[in-house]
């Protein structure tokens, strides 16, 4: 039994360790094509964006390779071209504020609609749950542009909403919804609602209804049970869903462009503008990094409050 001294098990241990190393090397090798593609066509370019945010804009787009903090200055401030005074960049700040505001409102609205919907699906008999879930998934996999376009068809001045309201005699002239912040919010709510329902459902499906029953036994009413038992138990799903709705809303590009028109821009449109007509690539890069930073903060909140165990539902 003196394992340490006999040469044979040591040799076996060596062989085992060697096999282990070989296995891990093999696994890295298997993963490497995927890692390389993502490195070159997703992660790597992000570093170039970071570098570009510290360069000087070229005259016709592009950059001049001269270090400059100008772009970062321009994110928040602007210099008057006549008297050189520095003021806050109102346009940027209002777009930033609109992006955060509309994303938060969209997330809250999605939660208000998504929570009951997910609860409804989770309390169906097991056989029909899949069908309800499937009905949620179908619009989600439908082209985003087409869904946004479909929303436009409903809320346009001549759209079915206004037509119906006029025919019913509720209003006499159409309500202008298109090209307002409300239109953007409605569009994002429509487009991202499934992203709220799916993680909420994943949490609720595992809900132990014996705890709910215990709540009733202790004389709680429905509202108290919801607030004190159900919501705390499905909190990871609430956080995951909120993050999943908030992040794409914040970076939304298509929905504000189609429903908000030229004036009601969001951060995504402002970024694109700097690379197009604006011809200020460093500013666009700095705005992209700003957007990424807000997303990172949101993700950190998620990791902090939802915990690791729930990440797989995202």
């Amino acid at each position: 039994m003196a394992v340490e001294n006999s040469p044979l098990p040591t040799r076996a241990a060596q062989v085992a360790a060697e096999a282990d190393r070989r296995e891990i090397r093999g696994r890295w090798l298997l993963a490497s094509p995927a890692l390389l593609i993502i490195l070159f066509a997703a992660i790597g370019p992000l570093f170039i964006v970071l570098v570009y945010s510290f360069l000087t804009p070229g005259d016709y787009g592009g950059v001049v390779w001269k270090p400059s903090g100008q772009a970062w200055f321009q994110v928040l401030f602007e210099k008057d071209i006549f008297d050189d005074t520095t003021t806050f960049a109102d346009a940027h700040l209002s777009i930033l504020w609109r992006s955060v505001k509309l994303s938060l409102l969209t997330t809250l609205a999605a939660l208000a609609f998504g929570f009951p919907t997910a609860y409804f699906i989770a309390t169906r008999p097991e056989k029909s749950r899949d069908i309800w879930l499937f009905l949620i998934t179908i619009p989600f996999w439908t082209n985003l542009l087409i869904r946004t376009f479909a929303v436009q068809e409903v809320i346009r001045n001549e759209g079915i909403l206004n037509t119906a309201l006029i025919k019913l005699g509720i209003i006499s002239s159409p309500i202008q919804i298109m090209f307002t912040d409300v239109a953007i919010m409605l569009g994002m709510l429509y487009v991202y609602l499934p992203l709220m329902v799916l993680p909420l459902y994943a949490s609720m499906e595992k809900l132990d209804f014996r705890l709910v029953e215990a709540g009733y036994d202790l004389y709680a009413n429905r509202f108290q049970v919801l607030r004190r038992v159900i919501i705390p138990l499905v909190k990871p799903g609430i956080i995951a869903g909120s993050i999943l709705v908030f992040i794409p809303s914040l970076g939304a590009y298509v929905t504000p462009r189609v429903l908000g028109g030229g004036k009601n821009m969001m951060l995504g449109n402002l970024i694109e503008l700097q690379f197009g007509q604006g011809r200020n690539w460093p500013l666009g890069a700095a705005l992209s990094i700003t957007l990424m930073a807000i997303v990172m903060v949101a993700l950190m909140v998620y990791v902090r409050y939802a915990g690791r165990s729930e990440t797989r539902h995202g």
Binding site: A42, P116, T117, F120, E153, R156, Y253, L291
Partner: protein, 285 residues
């Protein structure tokens, strides 16, 4: 205790007992069913409108003038629509096949193993495209590919295919990994016991069991690539419009029910693929 179990027994059918005032069910929350059904109606109302008006005989998107196929015929005869559709299809096919292949390899590398150093790193790396807003990825690729274009002079479809492949990888990876994690290891051990080489075991045992996951991943990647607007819009060179970017451009001009017709066809393709995906996934359990 007896009271509790009685109530429990009554609440077992749950939804059946959820009719108003019928019996008490612990699962029921007042008003939730109504909101849920309202949500389902809202989700389908815009899409349904879109499809219905694609059959409108008139030029209007709002006034119904009778049933007609004319906008489908118009779309079919529109050279640009045909061209961009083919381009979309080519890009999505390449991106789906490549991303699914590398995602399958990555899934094999990251499942059914004891934790090794770098495993979490690989997970994070592969799921990264899901965590960055599309507009930022698009801008990053715009800058990077602009540099590459200057260096190499190449301006083909390769950039779009590479970009699509990268963001499709996590979508292909997730269902394949899920399938692998649920798979029984004993069959592979049995094969090894019967002197199958690792490659033979993979081909004769693992791969056939993994097929539904791979097909599911392939279909998801295909749909995701087909649907992409933002990254394509930023990465494409001149004359490389895909169907979604072409439609985005059209939306700024006069919109005719032709757009409805293309959307409806597009919708049908997505629905068919997702439905197949759904049934493929259901068979697993």
């Amino acid at each position: 205790m007896a009271d509790a179990s009685l109530r429990n027994a009554r609440s077992v059918p749950g939804p059946a007992g959820a009719r108003k005032g019928a019996t008490f069910s612990v699962r029921r929350q007042t008003g939730f069913g109504g909101i849920a059904l309202f949500c389902f109606v809202l989700l389908y109302l815009p899409i349904a409108t879109l499809v219905v008006y694609s059959f409108n005989a008139g030029n209007s998107l709002a006034i119904w003038e009778g049933f007609s196929w004319r906008w489908y015929v118009a779309a079919w005869n529109n050279q640009q629509i045909v061209e961009t559709s083919i381009r979309s299809f080519v890009i999505a096919s390449f991106a789906a096949v490549v991303s699914t292949t590398v995602a399958t390899m990555a899934a094999l590398a990251t499942t059914r193993t004891r934790p090794y150093r770098g495993l979490n790193f690989i997970y994070g790396f592969i799921n990264q495209p899901l965590m960055v807003p599309e507009i930022v990825t698009g801008i990053a690729l715009l800058i990077f590919f602009a540099m590459v274009k200057v260096w190499t002079g190449y301006t083909g479809l390769g950039y779009l295919i590479a970009a699509h492949t990268a963001f499709c990888i996590p979508f292909a990876y997730l269902p394949i990994r899920a399938r692998l994690e649920n798979m029984d290891l004993t069959l592979e051990r049995a094969a090894a016991d019967l002197y199958a080489t690792p490659w033979m075991t993979f081909r004769k045992v693992t791969l056939p069991l993994l097929w539904p996951g791979i097909i599911a991943g392939l279909m998801l990647a295909f749909v995701v690539s087909l649907d992409d607007v933002v990254i394509t819009e930023l990465v494409k060179s001149g004359g490389q419009d895909t169907l979604p970017t072409y439609m985005l451009g059209q939306l700024r001009r006069v919109v005719t029910p032709e757009i409805n017709a293309i959307s409806s066809v597009f919708l049908l393709i997505s629905v068919v693929i997702v439905t197949l995906f759904f049934f493929l996934n259901r068979k697993r359990t």
